[in-house]
């Protein structure tokens, strides 16, 4: 299987594409929390690292099958997400962002001081189990789930909370309960993404999951267009490939990246695909179809 893949797609491109896929899974989770439900979080990388370490330790030390440990990693991240969410989601706006940022840093320090995670030395010799095939399958799954969620009653409730939490409450939506669910699902996706990340790089280090990584994922989502699933996919792809394509500008790379962020925000405040309404395009087709059938 993998031999055949290597003959079709160059392993280097496989690696880069895998990274894009892995980040898409994480970004979809963040899009659910921030884009759909309007809850600011600056600690997404922490849940990535919880999933990554959980999955890695399970396959490496306990020889569990990869997919089982991947899902357990996701569940572990979701559990921490819910445990953090219950007290913290009472906070609104920036205060929530600040609290999650703090949590992210606490997780990083904890991993640096734990024995089982290898502390600052990091965790090496993780078996390589991520490949383009299983990452792609999961990306398709995650996208399908995200689309379904967004267009369900659940998704509509989240949007109501985003627009006006007090009004949503008055309409009988239990905002707290929905917010915790959204946070749990978002963190689950981050955990899955982390598990793939660990089994692709085969080495984990706590310093790789600082708050800068959280902001990187937030940039994916905002650049693509907050709350838009196609936007999230495009934003992630563009920003993940950018460093690879910008290799020729060497040390000015990050300077250009910073400038791009600022310019993007000024000239396309709603993201790359913001304002492009896919749902309206789809709905039009549906309306046509229903019109025809009636």
């Amino acid at each position: 299987m993998s031999q055949w893949l290597a003959s079709v797609i160059d392993p280097y491109y496989q690696q880069v594409l895998m990274l894009v896929g892995i980040y898409i899974i994480a970004a979809l989770g963040l899009n659910l929390i921030t884009g759909l439900c309007g809850q600011l979080t600056f600690g997404h990388a922490a849940f990535l690292s919880i999933g990554a370490y959980t999955a890695a330790i399970l396959t490496r030390n306990f020889h569990m099958p990869f997919l089982a440990s991947l899902i357990l990693g996701g569940l572990m991240a979701a559990l921490f997400g819910i445990l953090l969410g219950i007290p913290v989601l009472k906070l609104t706006g920036d205060y929530l962002g600040i609290a999650t940022l703090g949590f992210g840093e606490i997780v990083r320090v904890a991993f640096t001081n734990m024995k089982i995670t290898g502390g600052a030395i990091g965790l090496a010799a993780i078996p390589r189990a991520s490949n383009l095939v299983n990452v792609t399958i999961f990306v398709i799954l995650a996208v399908a789930a995200a689309v379904l969620l967004e267009n369900s009653r659940f998704g509509r409730a989240l949007k109501a909370i985003r627009e006006d939490e007090i009004a949503a409450g008055a309409m009988g939506i239990n905002a707290m309960w929905y917010k915790i669910q959204a946070f749990g699902i978002g963190c689950f996706l981050a955990g899955i993404s982390g598990g793939f990340y660990a089994h692709m790089l085969q080495y984990l280090n706590p310093n790789d999951f600082g708050f800068l990584k959280s902001f990187e994922i937030l940039n994916f989502v905002v650049l693509g267009g907050l709350g838009s699933i196609p936007g999230t996919i495009v934003g992630t792809t563009v920003l993940t490939l950018a460093p690879e394509f910008l290799r020729f500008v060497q040390e000015y790379r990050m300077m250009i990246y910073g400038l791009l962020l600022v310019l993007m925000m000024i000239f396309r405040p709603n993201g790359l695909l913001g304002g492009v309404n896919f749902r309206r395009l789809l709905r039009r087709r549906k309306q046509k179809a229903t019109a025809l059938s009636s």
Binding site: D94, G102, E105, Y252, G258, L261, I266, P269
Partner: protein, 290 residues
């Protein structure tokens, strides 16, 4: 020993407080967490190094040069990058500040290299002994300069016309502009003062630790921000209090042997405060506008 650690903590806390003031004032008026604020502090420190190395200035001239240069920088950044987004979604503005922060850090790295540079000597360090207590004269200078700056700030905010305008703007931005207050000027002024204080902090820290590097603003900025939230974001005395408390908490945490968890101390304190008193120690309760 105890007194010694208290002095260590207050010195560290004073530098946090200086940076925290800028966060708090900007937040108080336009509800923006300016993530590039830590980098203004970093650039202030670099300008301080240049001022000593190139112009052989004395301490006070160095301090004022760095402060003035950062005033220009802070106001320019606000004009160019933040003002066009004032009516845009808040998250966009936040990402913009991150973009500016990345830009400034990389710019300095390209200019100066990633390695930290030392701070050329401007102040003689004399060890002062009072009984068994020893503290360095530099620590004293930091404490005195910080206190002087904070008193000056309080004076501006309380007794000058522009200070009144700042308070009005933080009370209610739109109404203030209806009352004939030039909001753009107030915001520029706020950025100017915040940047000047951050630059002062940068120069003092640079002298105290004799090290200036392009990434020094990341952790310091984050910690100062925590300090601002602790005291109650938008509240000026709160930022000072928060800074000093955080400095003491960290130094005592290290003294008690928790140095590996030093960064976690600040953030744990932050989360606890947010859950118990979301508006911080001195902040006013959040008004929910329906």
């Amino acid at each position: 020993m105890l007194l010694q650690q208290i002095i260590n903590g207050l010195t560290l806390g004073a530098t946090y407080a200086l940076i925290a003031l800028g966060y708090t004032m900007v937040y108080g008026i336009i509800q923006l967490i300016n993530f590039a604020h830590g980098d203004i502090y970093m650039i202030g420190a670099f300008i301080g190094v240049a001022a000593v190395a190139l112009f052989h200035q004395n301490f006070f001239l160095t301090l004022t040069t760095a402060m003035l240069a950062c005033v220009v920088l802070g106001v320019t950044i606000e004009r160019v990058a933040y003002r066009p987004l004032r009516r845009a979604p808040r998250l966009n503005l936040l990402i913009t500040t991150i973009g500016v922060s990345i830009f400034l850090e990389t710019f300095m790295t390209v200019l100066k290299g990633p390695q930290p540079t030392g701070f050329p000597p401007v102040l003689k360090n004399v060890t002062l002994r009072v009984g068994t207590l020893e503290f360095s004269s530099i620590q004293m200078v930091i404490l005195l300069v910080s206190v002087a700056l904070m008193v000056g700030l309080q004076f501006i905010v309380k007794y000058t016309k522009i200070g009144k305008a700042m308070r009005a703007a933080s009370e209610d931005y739109d109404t203030a502009s209806l009352m004939g207050i030039n909001i753009n000027r107030v915001i520029s002024f706020t950025f100017a003062i915040g940047s000047a204080l951050a630059a002062a902090g940068g120069v003092l820290v640079g002298i105290y630790f004799n090290s200036v590097s392009p990434y020094m603003g990341v952790t310091a900025g984050l910690k100062a921000f925590v300090a601002a939230v602790l005291g109650g974001i938008g509240n000026i005395p709160g930022a000072m209090l928060g800074g000093l408390l955080l400095g003491l908490a960290e130094v005592f945490g290290v003294a008690a042997g928790f140095s590996t968890y030093k960064d976690a101390i600040a953030f744990t304190l932050l989360i606890i405060i947010l859950l118990v008193r979301p508006t911080g120690l001195l902040g006013r309760p959040i008004q929910r506008k329906v």
